[in-house]
């Protein structure tokens, strides 16, 4: 029941926001949106405190058929074997909590930025977040796909209606449509793959079902498995994004409003990482292991390429967007390495990148509100013109470059450590990314905050709301870095189960010719 609430509250709150705006005004809508996300966060926290997360959706030693902490399952379209089933384990919980937290912050950070049609804006934000939560707790492949697509439409509106038109750049509608077409068409390929998997299962067992737990051990030939896996991989690769499929991301980020960017980088990309962990590896362990070398090289390519491109950007948000590509490269690397350290590192990286990217995008938004530009060439010397903002800037930039003691370091370090055990070569090349990230981070710091100021006049500093947003993120980031135990405890069961599923296939695949 809690799961259903988790899902319904954002959708209901969104409708309410829209109606309130129509009848009363924007102010009420804002408070309702904030309250909605706060309630969702409270629910997630409640789940965290009350549940026992030593179980997982995946089959593990104690529970051969998989087991989850909370679940709900009612028939929906019986003719096609589709059930409305939700479930939760440690991995889902981490991501749901991240979504709710960033939801609160993204509502808060657009408090002043969005002045037109705020109610409708918040409806889109909340519906988008609702869809994302749905992705994280669906345990029926049809339902998963449904939420996967449902979250796109509100994001499309966010970019297309409240986005920025960059002077001299492409219009925001272009970015919005590009984002939608990339993700939706890749999603359709995944739908075909899902159907193929379901029919393979149906022909083997005579049961037509979309249930995750039933499809887990579908017997199929290696060739079939590989092709079906590729369909899933394509959808996740576009969403993550893995490098050859990344071109929608910088456009979407640079055109999106701040809240849109925060959600996009903080949670939307994470749905793909979740997809890899929850669906790709467990459903197709052997085929994933076959793909692993290619995917990992793509991940390494992403790390280096994203960092390289970030270095060359003049638009602060575009720069941060490219750093996301680089950070997501680590996730691909870690997922396909498949050792326990690497997988733990992936979950940490998911959380840490969510927080650090959100912080950087919020900062970019705040700078843009004050300076009316995000062009780094027009910034410089800002340290002297603010009293508090640049310190936060420095903090999140350091977090993003992987300063030890903060979450990103932990994530990237664990991923490299885990990868080194099995693929030392790739880990070494990937580690170059750490160096490059220092380069682009420091250059961002230098260009924005140091150097010769463009003007002397002090700019309005952070108000209490903005200060609170950034402090929250800072506290969470330090927490992740210094005391990660609670997070690892929650994610341990799923990662261990995943590792036991995937490791044999990976070892078998690696045995003949080790890198």
């Amino acid at each position: 029941m809690t799961l259903l609430c988790l899902l319904l509250i954002p959708f209901a709150g969104g409708l309410l926001c829209w109606q309130l705006q129509q009848r009363f005004g924007a102010e009420q809508a804002r408070y309702v949106a904030l309250a909605t996300m706060a309630l969702t966060l409270a629910l997630a926290a409640g789940l965290w405190l009350t549940g026992d997360y030593s179980q997982t959706l995946l089959p593990s030693a104690g529970h051969p058929s998989g087991h989850w902490v909370q679940q709900l399952s009612v028939p929906w379209i019986p003719r096609l074997g589709i059930r409305f089933s939700l479930g939760l384990d440690g991995l889902s919980l981490l991501l749901v909590t991240l979504t709710a937290l960033l939801g609160v912050l993204s509502v808060a950070c657009s408090w002043k930025e969005i002045q037109t049609d705020a109610g409708f804006f918040y409806m889109n934000v909340l519906w988008n977040l609702g869809g994302v939560i749905g992705v994280f707790i669906a345990t029926d492949l049809f339902l998963f796909f449904l939420f996967w697509e449902v979250m796109l439409v509100p994001m499309f509106f966010l970019i297309a209606l409240w986005g920025h038109d960059i002077p001299g750049g492409r219009p925001r509608l272009y970015a919005a449509i590009k984002f939608f077409i990339f993700t939706q068409s890749a999603g359709l390929v995944m739908l075909v793959a899902i159907l193929a998997l379901v029919f393979v299962h149906y022909h083997a067992s005579g049961v037509l079902t979309f249930a995750y737990s039933d499809l887990l051990a579908t017997p199929m030939s290696g060739r079939t498995e590989f092709w079906i896996m590729l369909g899933f991989f394509l959808a996740f690769a576009v969403k993550l994004p893995v490098v050859p499929f990344h071109s929608w991301l910088p456009d979407a980020h640079s055109q999106a409003p701040t809240a849109g960017s925060v959600i996009l980088a903080g949670v939307l990309l994470k749905t793909a990482a979740y997809g890899l962990l929850r669906y790709l590896l467990p459903l197709f362990p052997a085929a994933s292991a076959q793909l692993a070398p290619i995917a990992m090289w793509l991940g390494v390519l992403g790390i280096v390429y994203g960092a390289w491109c970030a270095f060359g950007q003049n638009d602060a948000k575009r720069l941060v967007a490219y750093t996301s590509i680089s950070h997501m490269g680590f996730i691909v690397l870690g997922v396909f390495a498949g050792t326990e350290e690497a997988l733990q590192g992936v979950t940490m990286q998911i959380l840490a990148h969510g927080i650090s990217a959100a912080g950087l995008f919020i900062l970019c938004g705040q700078l843009a509100e004050r300076l009316d530009t995000r062009d780094l060439r027009k910034m410089g010397g800002l340290w002297a013109r603010f009293s508090n903002l640049p310190q936060f800037g420095l903090f999140f930039i350091l977090a993003s470059l992987g300063l030890p003691g903060l979450g990103n370091f932990l994530g990237e370090f664990l991923i490299l450590l885990g990868t080194f055990k099995t693929h030392p070569g790739m880990a070494m090349v990937g580690a170059i990314g750490l160096v490059l990230s220092a380069v682009y981070s420091l250059i961002l710091m230098q260009r924005a905050f140091y150097g010769k100021p463009a003007a002397e006049a002090p700019l309005p500093d952070l108000d209490r709301r903005e200060f609170a947003i950034l402090s929250t993120l800072t506290v969470v980031m330090i927490w992740l870095g210094l005391y990660p135990r609670p997070f690892f405890q929650v994610s341990r069961a799923p990662t261990q189960a995943l590792q036991t599923l995937y490791a044999p296939a990976a070892n078998e695949e690696r045995a003949p010719s080790d890198l």
Partner: protein, 508 residues
């Protein structure tokens, strides 16, 4: 004709007699609302009777050699009747502003509906052709109904000429098939085909000609050229019936014909259908990219959608008939809703809202209408939780089950292209009307013009508006809780009759 047979024909008889009553009513007194109400009542009665007939004819009931009433026929008749009901309601809203004679529209619509119903129940060339002509003839008049309007006349004229050509093709095709098989019943043709030893080419030629004719009616590429022009020129409610009633009848007939004659055993035919499907998907979606007129856009989108539907027909697996039923249902409801919004948004008659720019900012003027159009466009694009997704899901399922990877690739690619124009049309509804750059007004957001409370739903008070609400509810139901509809479509499946001779080796 016996009593149960008459009962089985009840839907058709009710609509036919309604048309007579409407004619008499017009003769006595021209009263727009009265005529429209009589037609609505007649159609609603017929719709109710299909449910009863469905019960009675759970086992297929043949009526003479011409017609067969089975759940399949009932399902599609019901769909046609829903389309006719929606069209009647929309026509009422549309024609209120028309200064000329309004009442004959309903008469033509009723006649056309009878024709469509005959088509879905026919199992013989004669009833096929009679139904088709009865469906098409009134349609010429309906398309050209606004006789003072150039675009309307042009649409009627164009449709008349091309439709007649298509009918000629179909007739010649029938003749050729009859020449070789000596029979005109679908089932018998199938049986004779199995026994044929010589002259298969002539039968194939005949089948090809029939396919071309039906391809024209279904506006499959490359026989689609008339579609955008006629959609654009015809009055919006007429275009909605053209896009739904006509297509439902033609596709249902095609499905029954293909299944009854076991046509899928001919690899050539399958190849031909595949080419038509891929062409329609590609041509429809790509040409839709270039449109700035909503009605033309819907026309091209219809071309693509029938390409998708053909894929299910080609797959011809156990899911095929059900997939076609679900797809046609979702497509029809969605299309009717889209045309309904066009009808309601249109201002005076000489200025029908067609250009996409007419819809700019509709959400801020009429949030309800814009929301319905948004839902319809998303549904046509096949986004989950809308009706259209269910249809697409079924078609993909039927394709995957039969491993039609090439056609599936075409669907995926087509849908990706399609997204672009649906989204472009959709976002227009939400953009604020343009402000002159540089003026002081540019900085200040315009005050919300949408009236608060339910006065925003004033458009929903007349017949067309309330019908639109019903369509909206149907769309939502199909998106969120499709099980009842799926059950109906499943029950309305169609099974080929067993053949006396076993299928020959040239089966795929």
């Amino acid at each position: 004709m016996t009593h149960p047979e008459l009962l089985a024909l009840a839907p058709m008889l009710i609509v036919s007699s309604t048309s007579v009553i409407v004619m008499l009513t017009i003769a006595i007194k021209r009263h727009h609302a009265l005529v429209a109400s009589v037609s609505m009542v007649g159609l609603a009665l017929a719709l109710a009777s299909t449910a009863a007939v469905w019960h009675v004819c759970a086992a297929p009931r043949s009526i003479t050699a011409l017609l067969i009433v089975d759940p399949f026929a009932c399902f599609y008749m019901a769909m046609i009747l829903i389309a006719a009901l929606a069209t009647t309601a929309l026509s009422h809203t549309y024609l209120v502003r028309y200064p000329g004679q309004r009442e004959e529209m309903y008469l033509l619509l009723l006649l056309s509906t009878v024709g469509a119903m005959v088509m879905v129940a026919s199992r013989h060339f004669i009833s096929f052709f009679v139904g088709l002509e009865l469906l098409s003839m009134p349609m010429y008049g309906m398309a050209a109904y606004l006789v003072k309007e150039r675009r309307s006349l042009e649409a009627g004229m164009k449709y008349l000429v091309l439709s007649a050509v298509a009918s000629a093709f179909i007739l010649l095709g029938m003749a050729l098939v009859y020449f070789q098989t000596g029979t005109m019943g679908f089932g018998d043709i199938g049986a004779r085909l199995g026994e044929l030893t010589v002259g298969e080419q002539i039968v194939m030629l005949g089948a090809a000609l029939i396919l071309i004719g039906l391809g024209f009616k279904l506006s499959l590429a490359p026989f689609h050229l008339w579609t955008p022009d006629v959609y654009q020129g015809a009055p919006a409610p007429v275009a909605s019936f053209l896009a739904t009633g006509l297509k439902i009848a033609a596709f249902a007939l095609l499905l029954r014909y293909v299944v009854d004659t076991h046509a899928t055993r001919y690899a050539t035919l399958i190849d031909a259908l595949s080419v038509l499907a891929v062409l329609s998907i590609v041509v429809g979606n790509i040409l839709a990219l270039l449109q700035s007129n909503l009605k033309r856009l819907l026309a091209y989108s219809a071309i693509a959608h029938f390409g998708y539907m053909l894929v299910a027909l080609i797959a011809s697996g156990p899911l095929a008939a059900e997939a076609v039923g679900v797809y046609l249902l979702t497509y029809s409801i969605t299309t009717l809703a889209a045309f309904g919004v066009i009808t309601l948004v249109s201002g005076p008659l000489d200025h029908e809202a067609q250009a996409l720019s007419d819809y700019r900012g509709l959400f801020w003027r009429h949030p309800g209408l814009a929301a319905i159009l948004t839902l319809a466009l998303l549904s046509l694009a096949g986004v989950p939780l809308t009706a259209g997704f269910l249809g697409k899901f079924y078609v993909l399922g039927a394709g995957v089950d039969e491993r039609q990877w090439l056609l599936l690739g075409a669907i995926v690619a087509g849908s990706a292209i399609g997204l672009y124009f649906y989204l472009r049309a959709m976002i227009q509804l939400y953009l604020r009307p343009p402000v002159v750059p540089g003026s002081a007004a540019a900085a200040v957001p315009p005050p919300a013009t949408a009236p608060a409370g339910f006065s925003g739903l004033r458009w929903a008070r007349d017949a067309g508006g309330s019908m639109l609400i019903v369509l909206l509810l149907l769309m939502l139901a199909l998106g969120f809780y499709p099980s009842p509809f799926i059950k109906l479509a499943q029950a309305a499946g169609i099974e080929p009759q067993a053949l006396a001779t076993p299928l020959t080796a040239d089966r795929r």
